[in-house]
């Protein structure tokens, strides 16, 4: 095994980044001094006593060699810093990862522009609609989508992207062979076929709480434009946005209602100067892409609506989210007739239940 590769793997194993590597190499030491017995002084200075102990314990079990083999067996590519495939944007990070585990298509990562999508795990129906909309947009215009594959906005945007045949990259807080959250396992399988799963954590790593904020820096670095869909004021998405800002990336924040917990962060980003994501067209234009004319005007209502249907749609448009009770008063219809009409309208995809027992118009985003 190449000594330099082994050194990078072992350093990555103890979660050391580019800074540690630089410190170690600056001392003029050779790679093998990291693990050879009797030559601990230089190494100890670079990685610290505890780190060195863990590193040497791993080496005693031939961890690097075995990990290398495991990766080959499960078709996981290892990409090392300063290697040809290593995404150069990551180099801009103060503490770039020394290596990446990569499951999927490396070539597709070269496509531009890469769009990052981040947001809360507890999204509202609004957040979900926007996340799906951005995912679909990326697929339609061939922009690779980078996100974290988590619950909520991350997974939903990537799912929409996958479903529409786009390329998407999930930067995980676990090993690339671990499906976390479990309910996204099917999504991860699709991503690894069409795009790729990326992680700096060794194979089989579980989702430690500190993994997720750490991997956010990779999402930030890989994104040329970062779309923040829904984010509370204090959240991982806001951390990602701040890192991306530090790297000089474009931040796009989706505006939300003021007072809405899930939009406190995004609205603040807009206040601080982020681009407001007001429409797909505005975003595309900023990406230097000419937005295609939508097939058929989506805003127009289908022709075969009855007078009652129109009345219901008009009332929903005026009042926003409404319960059946309040709706039945404003359209002056009995509950059972109204429910039937609502059911037909939702079968047509015009209205939907946006909160328990409350209905809204389904906007095409």
């Amino acid at each position: 095994m190449d000594e330099r590769v082994k050194m990078l793997m072992l350093l990555n194993y103890i979660n050391a980044g580019a800074a540690v590597l630089a410190k170690f190499l600056m001392s003029g030491a050779e790679a093998r001094e990291l693990w050879e017995p009797g030559k601990a002084d230089v190494a100890k200075e670079a990685v610290g006593e505890k780190g060195l102990a863990r590193l040497r314990a791993a080496n005693n079990e031939a961890w690097a060699e075995r990990e290398f083999e495991r990766a080959q067996k499960s078709a996981v590519t290892l990409i090392f810093i300063e290697g040809g495939d290593y995404p150069e944007e990551l180099g801009e990070l103060k503490d770039a990862p020394l290596m990446l585990y990569f499951k999927g298509n490396i070539e597709k990562l070269r496509r531009r522009p890469r769009v990052g999508v981040v947001g809360t795990r507890r999204m509202s129906s609004y957040g979900r609609a926007v996340a799906r909309g951005v995912g679909r947009l990326c697929a339609e215009y061939g922009m690779p989508l980078v996100s974290g594959g988590a619950w909520g906005v991350d997974g939903e945007s990537q799912r929409a992207c996958c479903e529409n045949g786009g390329d998407t990259f999930a930067v995980l807080g676990t090993g690339v062979d671990v499906a976390y959250p479990q309910s996204n396992a099917e999504l991860f399988r699709k991503i690894s076929e069409e795009g790729a799963l990326i992680s700096e954590f060794p194979l089989g790593s579980g989702g430690e709480p500190w993994h997720f904020p750490q991997r956010n820096r990779i999402i930030a670095a890989l994104s040329e434009k970062l779309v923040v869909v829904e984010a509370p004021f204090k959240s991982g998405s806001m951390i990602t946005a701040r890192i991306a800002l530090g790297l000089g990336r474009e931040i796009w924040a989706v505006p939300g209602q003021i007072g809405s917990y899930n939009s406190e962060g995004t609205n603040r980003l807009i206040f601080d100067g982020a681009f407001p994501y007001i429409s797909d067209e505005a975003f595309l234009t900023a990406c230097g892409i000419e937005p295609a004319k939508r097939k058929g005007a989506p805003a127009a209502e289908p022709a075969d609506l009855s007078a009652e249907d129109r009345k219901i749609l008009a009332a929903l448009k005026e009042n926003g989210e409404t319960t059946i009770d309040n709706l039945s008063i404003s359209v002056k219809m009995g509950a059972s007739d109204l429910l039937k009409n609502i059911a037909l309208l939702s079968a047509k995809g015009l209205v939907f239940m946006s909160a328990p027992g409350r209905y809204s118009i389904r906007r095409k985003l």
């Binding site: 619950w151 319960t323 039937k340 009409n341 079968a347 239940m353 027992g357 389904r362």
Partner: protein
């Protein structure tokens, strides 16, 4: 043979117990043999004191045998036959013909109410013998037509009758003609929740089990309580079954044709719900038979309890088997389950923020799955109305339970007519294969179903449930064929739709 007959219960059936007494000389003692449980063994003291208070002084060794010897006997209702048999052996009274006695004795000779009076009345009727029972049980027994029964309030009164000194009056049979009083709560008293009310109407009409999903304080329990008010009143046959079960369980008698409503707490054990114990008592599901079984906080129930509900919900009856034997109880319930959308209860609420992690919600949701859901046709989201929403509803006239009950009864009649020749009662019982052939729908409905199958990912089972519900909705309108609107509404009640806002 002294003609004294007692009774012990096996399920809702009574088993005759011959009470034999032998009195010989010697020091005073009483012993009871014949697989008697503690309550019966303790009868000795009650019988002795009650007899003394009635002027019967006992002397010598008294041996009491309860036959048949191999049937376990339980309950205090054997007090009275033992007392009568002892009095008869001591020569105080003579019985000319075989009679059935039930009742618990007080020390001063009064009779207390017992459980099992109605089964005893049925037993007496079938065997054509006279029944003597505590006066406090007279109300329920008087509903059993054709039973010759005498209400007895104390032991001296009974002895006077048996000696022919002062005859007791035979109990008059009566029937409940009055309809149930005003339903409580009435649908008109519940503000808003039109969607949930509509779902309850469908549930009542087609006997579909229903699941409410909503935040705390949205009114799920109130709605469930209101359901019994829109069900048609109990028929004679059903009333008898309900009274029989209530009497077997020892519940107080209610003179009403109102359907039973049983609300079960989620800490209840499988035995409490399904019945059992060494005395094979009926469980909540049997006590709710012909009425409503309400399970609040549905996902909090123990897994085995929920699984145990499956079979009775399917069969309409439950077999309780223990070492001491096995009995079949009716379990024809309309199940109303209620749950929160998430562990904290406020997911999707318009005012309060949900504090659950996505994982916790997923886990909660997973508890709400499995085969039991196949028995629930209607899933309904119940919104918590905001004060301003309630105000804007004003005093708009909500329908009264009585009006809805009328529609439900009409729909039930249509169903009975349609399915009578196939041996079904209501739409919820129709098997899957049978349904597709005989539900009779308009031509365009098939098209619509095929189209929506793609959009909403319905499984075969899910489709059958949707069709059953559509059939009921059509019946409520009196429409012979299922139309597109019916199916569309039924689809909005399918599994997952009530929580669709989480993934809309």
């Amino acid at each position: 043979m002294n003609n004294v007959c007692g009774l012990t219960l096996r399920g809702v059936k009574g088993v005759a117990v011959e009470v034999e007494v032998e009195i010989t000389g010697g020091l005073f003692s009483i012993s009871v043999v014949g697989l008697a449980d503690t309550a019966v063994k303790e009868a000795r003291e009650r019988v002795r004191a009650a007899l003394r208070a009635s002027g019967v002084n006992m002397r010598g060794r008294v041996a009491i045998n309860l036959a048949p010897a191999d049937v376990p006997k339980e309950g205090a209702l054997l007090d009275l036959p033992i007392a009568v048999a002892v009095a008869s052996a001591a020569g105080y009274v003579t019985l000319k013909k075989r009679s059935l006695f039930i009742g618990e004795l007080a020390l001063d000779g009064r009779l207390r109410a017992v459980r099992g009076a109605v089964p005893a009345a049925f037993f007496a009727k079938e065997n054509d013998i006279e029944l003597f029972l505590p006066a406090k049980n007279a109300d329920e027994v008087s509903l059993v037509e054709g039973a010759r029964a005498y209400a007895v309030s104390s032991l001296p009164e009974l002895f006077a009758h048996l000696r022919g000194e002062k005859r007791l009056k035979e109990l008059q049979t009566r029937s409940i003609d009055s309809l149930p009083g005003p339903p409580d709560p009435d649908f008109a008293d519940i503000k808003g929740q039109a969607a949930a009310k509509r779902a309850l109407e469908i549930a009542a009409a087609g006997h579909h089990n229903i699941l409410f999903i909503g935040s705390p304080g949205s009114g799920k329990t109130l709605l469930a309580r209101a359901l019994k008010g829109i069900l048609p009143p109990l028929s004679d046959e059903e009333l008898m079954e309900v009274i029989l079960l209530r009497s077997t369980a020892g519940l107080p008698f209610e003179l009403s044709r109102e359907r039973p409503f049983r609300s079960v707490h989620h800490t209840a054990s499988a035995v409490a719900i399904c019945g059992g114990g060494s005395s094979l008592r009926p469980g909540e599901i049997s006590l709710a038979s012909r009425g409503v079984l309400f399970l609040d906080e549905f996902p909090e129930f123990q897994r085995d309890v929920i699984e145990a509900l499956r079979q009775p919900l399917e069969d309409g009856s439950i077999t309780v088997s223990r070492a001491s034997g096995s009995v079949v109880y009716p379990a024809k319930v309309l199940m109303v389950a209620a749950c929160n959308p998430c562990p904290c209860g406020y997911a999707g609420d318009s005012e309060r923020r949900c504090s659950c992690s996505p994982f916790a919600i997923e886990r909660y949701r997973r508890k709400l799955s499995g085969p039991i859901l196949d028995r629930i046709d209607l899933h309904v989201a119940v919104p918590r109305l905001l004060p301003e929403e309630l105000v804007s509803l004003g005093s708009s006239g909500a329908e009264k339970s009585e009006t809805i009950r009328g529609r439900v009864a009409a729909a039930r009649e249509i169903q009975q007519k349609r399915w009578a020749s196939f041996g079904f009662q209501c739409n919820s019982e129709i098997p899957e294969k049978f349904l597709l052939k005989n539900a009779s729908m308009k031509a365009e409905v098939r098209q619509f179903i095929l189209r929506s199958l793609k959009d909403v990912k319905l499984s075969g089972r899910g489709l059958a449930r949707v069709l059953r519900v559509s059939r009921t909705i059509a019946d409520l309108e009196g429409s012979p064929q299922i139309g597109v609107a019916h199916v569309a509404e039924a689809i909005s009640y399918r599994e997952g739709e009530a929580t669709a806002w989480m993934s809309a």
